[in-house]
Amino acid sequence: MRKVVFSAVLVLLCSVVLASGLLMPVVKAPMIVTTLGQSPGALMFRLVCVRSKIACVQEDLLTATQLKELAQAPDGPKTLVITTGTSLKGMGAAGIDINLEVERIENLIKQAKELGMTVIGAHIEGMARRVDATDEKSITTVIPKSDLILVIASSDEDGYFTKFSETSGIPLLKVNESLDIGPALLELINAN
Amino acid sequence: MAILNSIISVCYYLISAFVVFVLAKSIIKTKNVQDAILYSVMLMPFILRILRIK
């Protein structure tokens, strides 16, 4: 295990946090993470936060009402993170309803903006979650409405997110690996 | 239940055996050469199943 952790740290140190020239939004902890498409991206995001000691709650089915209640608590979340890319295990009846998911997330983003929260749209599971139409729907619902786009290098193999950031003016935070997300976020939080 | 399932399984071997019996009879009786060949080919799965080979 030590070997693995060592190499992971090594990769982390060598990784380059790529940030676009655009002005970064204010990112504050605690964070709350949810997913459009019920893929484990939100879980991974929480795990990397835990490793970097950033307060983060994972709520895969978070609703606008829940968010409002949580945000009004004293230690309520200040940043909403939405991971994109859908889970396809068990199509049909065992799968997810992408239209309901889109509706939930649209309401959620609207609520977050009303609450003055920063919204991070993230794609952190690589090209494997950029294959089909539901993946695309998940991305196009979240990313254009985000204050910050967070991706790992393998999610942006074709430069899709870089180009989108350039044309839309939404800042992009691009890291090499998912394990690099924590340190990169810490840097942003500390910059405030 | 296990015994019942075994009995049911045996019934299926008996049904297959009966099919083989009828096919064999048909081969003997038929006057059509093409039918005779087809019936022979049709015997294959039923025979191997009855012999519990496949």
Binding site: P40, M44 | M44
Partner: protein, 388 residues
């Protein structure tokens, strides 16, 4: 045609069919009865039978070996099974590699190499699978049975007109009553595949298994590929394993086990026991419907022009090029993923560690080949040889 000529045709066609039946019959018979040799590794402390956990399986075709590798040092108990689907060879090869090599420093590891023996002793009509495949080893070739996804009808006949999974009541296609990864958690008075699952659940409960891993492979057209599928109890471990492996060895994803898809190990083992259940998928182009020539070469190299073409049309969920997905890569992925999951299990559950040694990781398997890790039965003591 005269009666005489007709009689001749009849006799000739019957004779030809008889010859075909004898030739094919011998091959089917040999395949069903072929015994794979397993040399007990240095870590194996006990070899039990599945029927020790469920008496009715005694003497049946599905009474497989249960290898126990005990460190003697208190810790957790892990359970690894291969050949849930014997048409996915990286599963049983990896399991056997663990049995022949693993030594434990802490905790216990239980392994079943051929979880569904019946399915490993039949080939699928209409799909033209090879009957065997051979793995090169430093001491010669080692031959394995290529099996099917479903148990043999010789052991489970007939199928119901629709299969109702126990106890969920979910409807599945009729032949799935013979699909070992649709019949979990099993049924004591069900058909043989359901009984086998029931026996495995008994192993899990009686041995106090903490973490259970089921080894699989999948076609590239299928969305759940190169991934770790985890019951919610194991989601954190699987998510972390996915990230660590992706950053250090190879890309592997993670999926949650859907709560409404029943009969699969990653759902039912977790729901019906205290164990965390995880299923691993490696890419196997041999299983793709668009595959070209179906033979042992495709099975072992994973190289196929048609599958590559499907990839160019964006129809696949995993990358493929002319190098294909060789068996060593697939076995190596399973080895590293299993080791990583066990390591993380220990990190997340102090005092319940399962510390495994002498099992190669991905790079080593790819470099040396899977066969490098199999022991030579001709040099082993008779009492150390077991048969699958």
């Amino acid at each position: 045609m005269t009666d005489r000529n007709l009689l001749i045709v009849k006799l000739v066609s019957l004779a030809l069919v008889a010859v075909a039946l004898v030739i094919a019959g011998i091959q089917f018979h040999d395949h069903r009865n072929y015994q794979e040799e397993v040399v007990k590794g240095p870590g194996v402390t006990q070899v039990k039978k599945l029927s020790d956990y469920f008496e009715p399986l005694k003497g049946s075709i599905n009474d497989c070996n249960i290898y126990i590798i005990d460190s003697g040092v208190p810790g957790g108990t892990a359970f690894l099974i291969g050949s849930s689907h014997p048409e996915e060879p990286a599963g049983n090869l990896t399991a056997q590699l663990f049995v022949e090599n693993a030594k434990l420093a802490k905790g216990r590891l239980i392994v079943a190499i051929r979880a569904n023996q019946s399915a490993s002793r039949v080939s699928r009509p209409g799909d033209a699978y090879p009957l065997y495949y051979t793995i090169e080893t430093p001491w010669g070739e080692k031959k394995f049975r290529m099996g099917d996804r479903w148990s043999s009808p010789l052991d489970s006949w007939p199928d119901p007109e629709v299969y109702v999974n126990y106890p969920s009541g979910q409807l599945l296609a009729y032949m799935d009553v013979r699909n070992f990864n649709r019949t979990w958690p099993g049924r004591a008075n069900g058909m043989i595949t359901e009984q086998t699952n029931y026996a495995f659940m008994n192993v899990i409960k009686e041995e106090g298994v903490d973490i259970f891993i089921d080894l699989h492979e999948a076609e590239l057209e299928y969305p759940v590929i190169s991934t770790i599928v985890a019951h919610q109890k194991g989601a954190d471990i699987a998510g972390m394993a996915s990230m660590l492996l992706t950053s250090t060895e190879f890309r592997i994803g993670m999926e949650y086990s859907p709560k409404s898809l029943h009969g699969l190990s990653h759902r039912e083992v977790g729901d019906h026991s205290d164990a965390v259940s995880i299923l691993l998928e490696a890419p196997e182009p041999f299983l793709d419907r668009v595959r070209g020539i179906t033979d042992e070469k495709l099975l072992l190299t994973g190289q196929d022009e048609f599958v590559v073409m499907a990839g160019k049309y964006g129809l696949l969920y995993e990358k493929i090029d002319e190098k294909g997905w060789p068996i060593d890569v697939r076995v190596g992925r399973h080895c590293s993923t299993v080791l990583m999951i066990f390591e993380l299990w220990g990190d997340f559950n102090p005092g319940k560690e399962v510390v495994i040694q002498q099992v190669p990781r991905y790079d080593e398997v790819v470099q040396n080949g899977t066969g490098y890790y199999f022991r030579d039965p001709s040099k082993a003591k008779t009492e150390d040889i077991y048969y699958e």
